[in-house]
Symmetry: C2
Subunit: 305 residues, 2 copies
């Protein structure tokens, strides 16, 4: 592979950040008919008929269900999605929210230089146990970030299959134990009937008065009324949500008045600037392609079908 | 060492968090006369005459100058300070401040669910270049936290001696280049005549419109009036300060009205809860002592004199 020119089509629009990534990786942006690589920045509607020259299609969405349903994927070339990119964004945002809570940054913004309320409420990740609910890509990306901060990680995965780097992985049937051992909790699981209102009055009672809960997954994982009660009573220290139910919360939702609740407007992977942030990630995958190395976020149609 | 009982004196007060750490490490808290280890929670005033039984003294301060001046240290046993502990606290706080800025957490706290202003301002550490000014303990602790988030690290050290894990270390004479290549900057250098107002009108001009500056070192490293000008004009994206000059800023300081400035009240290592946070760190050093391993933050009187 390394001898042929790195010709890349970027469709349906030639995004300038990704054009720069291609050129920075030593490639050239060309029409689809001349391309070895197609970067496809849309859903399955309008997906082109691929010429034989295309060896690799880089899809820019995290989920591939819609492409599978549309019958777009074939086994004549490599396919990648962007799940790793989005998972990393969620993991970074989860870390930002958790640290903001522990480090009392919202309180500092609201109260100014307050020597009495803020310092006693500061907590650290060093030596803390963080339970991640969810054994998928977000958990895989979050774990090394947390351990670099000196935290111990307990992961809960549906199957109980070990999450790389976690100190302990438990199956979903042991969620109560994972919550009971946690100093702090990050929700990173899909929204399913079995995760609906996973955080409720009962499970909130398993946490500690210094615990923070972070949700970067889906709003319905939390019973928000129960969360409001726990935040008002001091049963837990705080919560930080990038997703809510409904989204956004109503203007008169009592959650808005809670000083120990952080709400960000679903910005783990914000649309504006997305291709700018994606550019170095694409560049790395182009480098791997040229070097003949394993691609990030490769989709195996045989496995994923 | 591993055969004798782990007897530890905690003076001048038997802090309950550290007592728990000793007992959790399999040790026993005893009067100084029976101790192999002394954990000393104060300055050199009142430092006791040590019995021969004491093999290791764990000082709880970061700096040892005062103990050196008082002639407390000898070469008849091991000595440790808490510099590694404090450096880790500063590094965690620096990461929290930088991520809070990039992830628009203060704006979310102030503006609520705002879909127009917030998402386009969100930035990520993935693929970003972070310049750390300072090649000491804070930089050593911060570097792995940043690289775990996918950032590239440039360190500036007085000598130019490589900072472990940094992608590039430059000597202080190349500070301008380090600022010019940075997406974001963390100040982690001591306050000296040569670092006074290191961040000023001229050096702020080397940064990018999306740059955030974080200061967890000392307030005088920044010319705050110049910083205010850069924040108002949009020359840089934001700043997050855990230290200021003076400290705290005056109530009528115009800095307080800047929406892209985060100020936390010097809480990288807050006094309340300090021994609670220090407990797992002490436990780890007790484990190493028992195992005959190298201690964290060992002070070498011969080198440090």
């Amino acid at each position: 592979m390394s001898e042929a020119a790195l010709t890349v089509a970027i469709e349906p629009v030639r995004d300038p950040h990704l054009v720069a990534a291609v050129e920075g990786a030593g490639g050239r942006v060309v029409p689809l008919e001349q391309a070895r690589v197609l970067v496809w920045l849309a859903g399955p509607d309008g997906f082109p008929t691929l010429p034989d020259s295309v060896e690799w299609v880089a899809l820019s969405y995290a989920g591939i269900e819609a492409y599978l349903t549309a019958g777009v994927l074939d086994d004549r070339r490599l396919w990648t999605n962007a799940s790793g990119f989005y998972a990393a964004g969620c993991a970074e945002h989860a870390l930002a929210l958790l640290l903001a809570g522990l480090r009392q940054i919202p309180a500092s913004v609201l109260l100014g230089w307050n020597d009495e309320v803020i310092p006693p409420a500061v907590r650290t990740l060093r030596g803390a146990t963080v339970t991640i609910i969810g054994g998928g890509g977000i958990g895989r990306e979050l774990t090394p970030r947390l351990t670099a901060c000196g935290a111990r990680v307990i992961a809960v995965s549906r199957s109980g299959r070990d999450l790389d780097g976690a100190d302990l992985t438990l199956p979903a049937t042991e969620t109560d134990r994972a919550l009971g051992e946690a100093d702090h909790v990050v929700l990173a699981a899909p929204s399913t009937p079995s995760t609906h209102h996973l955080i409720n009055d009962r499970t909130l009672g398993l946490l500690k008065p210094h615990s923070w809960i972070v949700n970067v997954a889906r709003g319905p994982l939390i019973d928000q009324e129960a969360l409001g009660r726990a935040l008002r009573s001091g049963a837990i220290a705080g919560a930080a949500l990038d997703v809510t139910d409904p989204e956004p919360p109503a203007d008169d939702d009592p959650l808005w008045s809670l000083p120990n609740l952080i709400v960000t407007p679903h910005i783990a992977n914000p649309s504006p600037g997305l291709t700018r942030e994606m550019a170095p990630w694409l560049a790395e995958n182009l480098r791997r392609f040229t070097a003949g190395e394993e691609l990030i976020s490769r989709v195996d149609p045989a496995r994923d079908y």
